[in-house]
């Protein structure tokens, strides 16, 4: 009924706005946003073109179109496979660990008491810390000569634990920093999800004396699934592109131990001035994130439509 009224009111809108201007209005309003879009798309297309060129900043006269050679070269390049392997390992570790920890914390804070709410607010602080600065904080805490964490592990008999500067523990250290920054993100999304679940199934289960583990695996988890998927895809997309934490902590080192995609591309560009190779590396990363983000956006829009009551 309100729809009918609505369409009537739109028909009797003041004549002052001419029909043409009325139709142009949305375009005029979104013109600046369109400009930003174009400003993003131009460098993006440029990067795609660069990735098909032999283009080194220090050897400009060698510049030329070489087709997919940059990509083909990757196939036989152990550095590329190292980058791919490290990026995927880092992503898998951070997402899985943050998901488990975030879910655990969300379950602990599930009842909306004043204390639980206060804790969930305090847990926002790491998330709001700049990741690059967070890396510096952990760098100070893991300093071999005075770092508090180095001291604490030495109390447990682990001496000379070198954290990010030892190839065997570097990955562990940056994953720990990533968890410190981003676990609260997953916790917050899942807590919002948990608290929005309908109560009836849980009340019915409690009345029937259903064991807690059954309730968790058969009721809580399935109902929470959309939130878990959203949160993980989100983290997946950010994690595979991680730059700040790793660059601030070790600049990809020690050696090439933490050469994830964006760090490698950054060094390729600024240290080796190899624009073509850097662009090709980023295009591959883009391809991966684009597939993931298409899944994500579809899923997210479905949730959004549901939240807006199929508006």
């Amino acid at each position: 009924m309100s729809m009918v009224q609505l369409s009537q009111t739109t028909n009797v809108l003041p004549r002052r706005t001419t029909r043409l201007r009325g139709r142009m209005l949305p375009y005029l309003l979104s013109l600046p946003a369109l400009l930003v879009c174009i400003a993003i798309l131009v460098p993006f297309v440029t990067a795609a073109v660069y990735s098909l060129q032999r283009y080194r900043l220090n050897l400009p006269y060698l510049r030329g179109f070489i087709g997919v050679d940059n990509y083909v070269d990757f196939l036989s390049d152990p550095a590329f496979w190292n980058t791919l392997r490290i990026s995927l390992t880092y992503t898998a570790l951070t997402v899985v660990l943050e998901l488990l920890l975030g879910l655990g914390i969300a379950l602990l804070l599930r009842r909306p008491t004043r204390f639980h709410n206060a804790v969930s607010i305090v847990l926002l602080l790491p998330l709001m810390t700049a990741p690059a600065i967070a890396a510096l904080m952990w760098k100070l805490m893991t300093n071999p000569s005075f770092g508090i964490l180095s001291y604490l592990v030495s109390l447990f008999g682990v001496h000379d634990f070198k954290w990010a500067s030892d190839p065997s523990s570097a990955l562990f250290t940056v994953v720990l920093v990533d968890m410190w920054v981003y676990t609260p993100f997953i916790m917050i999304l899942l807590l919002a999800g948990l608290r929005s679940l309908p109560r009836q199934p849980f009340e019915a289960a409690a009345l029937d004396g259903v064991p807690a583990s059954f309730v968790f695996f058969r009721i809580t988890l399935p109902m929470l699934a959309p939130y878990i998927i959203t949160a993980s895809l989100f983290r997946l997309l950010d994690s595979i592109q991680q730059f700040d934490i790793i660059y601030a902590m070790t600049q990809g080192g020690p050696g090439d131990r933490l050469m994830v995609f964006q760090v490698q591309a950054y060094l390729e560009f600024f240290q080796y001035t190899n624009v073509g190779r850097s662009a090709a590396l980023l295009m591959i990363l883009w391809l991966i994130t684009n597939i993931l983000s298409n899944i994500f956006i579809k899923n997210w829009l479905r949730l959004r439509a549901r939240a807006h009551g199929h508006a």
Binding site: P32, L41, M128, A132
Partner: protein, 285 residues
């Protein structure tokens, strides 16, 4: 469903305590460290009780650091000012560009609107270097490299999508009937927009603005590539600072405290809105 058994409550209590320690300890520890002298920091075992000193902050503010290698001039306060200036300018610009566009997306169904919204959303997830590296070459040709304007413009990549999507949601939640009634009374769409729609979406606009400020402030890679020392924000400045030789650890800690305090205070202030903003695709350093 109630975990009221004693063992359950003890377990939950311990687990919560561990969670709080893991997430709060680094902040507390760095805060304490920023009030310590180098000698106090280097003590083994570390002391929790110490005589606090403001020397680290004084050195940062005066810009003169006494190091083993002699006097070192730093411009950390300038970095702090840069962070304020760049983030505020970026958010103001994004609000001016984004709020009208968000209104258009919410009120008019037109194909271009959806295309823009999706392009911005999908580039929210694209690797930032993919856009930044070619852009830095363009900037060199255009003379925009290492200018405040150039950096603020790039910050739109962070702020604009956030504002568009959050504010659009708020506009969609407001019934258009009020605006229609207002316009039937003879007012123009612009009056309906500024006097009805924007005030009603006010909380959403404020939340989006605060969140984008935090994310611009926390950004690292944009300024790392586009800004030279005198235009760098704290995130990049603090890193350069750490690698400088002979810096005292307490001064690094004080620099960290100064860099994170503004965003943490804003986050506490705006925490009501954070959940919604975050779920809309915000987190990006």
């Amino acid at each position: 469903m109630d975990h009221s058994s004693l063992a359950g409550r003890i377990f939950r209590g311990i687990a919560l305590a561990l969670v709080l320690v893991f997430f709060m300890f680094p902040i507390v520890w760095i805060f304490l460290m920023s009030f310590q002298t180098n000698e106090q920091i280097l003590r083994i075992p570390p002391h929790i009780l110490f005589e606090p000193t403001l020397a680290n902050y004084q050195a940062l503010i005066s810009g003169q650091l006494r190091t083993t290698a002699g006097n070192l001039e730093i411009s950390f306060i300038r970095n702090l000012m840069n962070s304020f200036a760049l983030s505020s300018a970026a958010v103001v610009l994004a609000l001016l560009l984004g709020v009208p566009a968000a209104y258009a997306f919410a009120r008019f169904k037109f194909r271009l609107g959806e295309t823009i919204a999706f392009t911005l959303l999908s580039f929210r997830f694209a690797p930032p270097l993919l856009v930044l590296l070619p852009l830095s070459l363009y900037y060199q040709q255009l003379g925009l490299n290492d200018t405040y304007f150039g950096i603020v413009w790039v910050y739109q990549l962070i702020a604009l999508p956030l504002i568009l999507w959050i504010v659009r949601g708020y506009f969609e939640d407001i019934s258009p009937d009020i605006e229609h009634a207002y316009r039937l009374a003879g007012h123009s769409w612009r009056e309906a927009f500024t006097r009805i729609a924007v005030p009603l979406a006010g909380p959403g606009i404020a939340a989006a603005g605060l969140l984008s400020f935090i994310f611009c402030w926390n950004n690292f890679v944009f300024a790392l590539i586009l800004a030279s020392a005198d235009k760098q924000p704290v995130t990049v400045g603090a890193l350069a600072f750490v690698t400088a030789s002979g810096i005292q650890y307490g001064q690094i800690a004080a620099a960290i405290v100064l860099s994170v305090t503004p965003t943490l205070l804003l986050a506490l202030y705006a925490q009501r809105y954070l959940v919604e903003g975050l779920s809309l695709g915000a987190v990006k350093g």
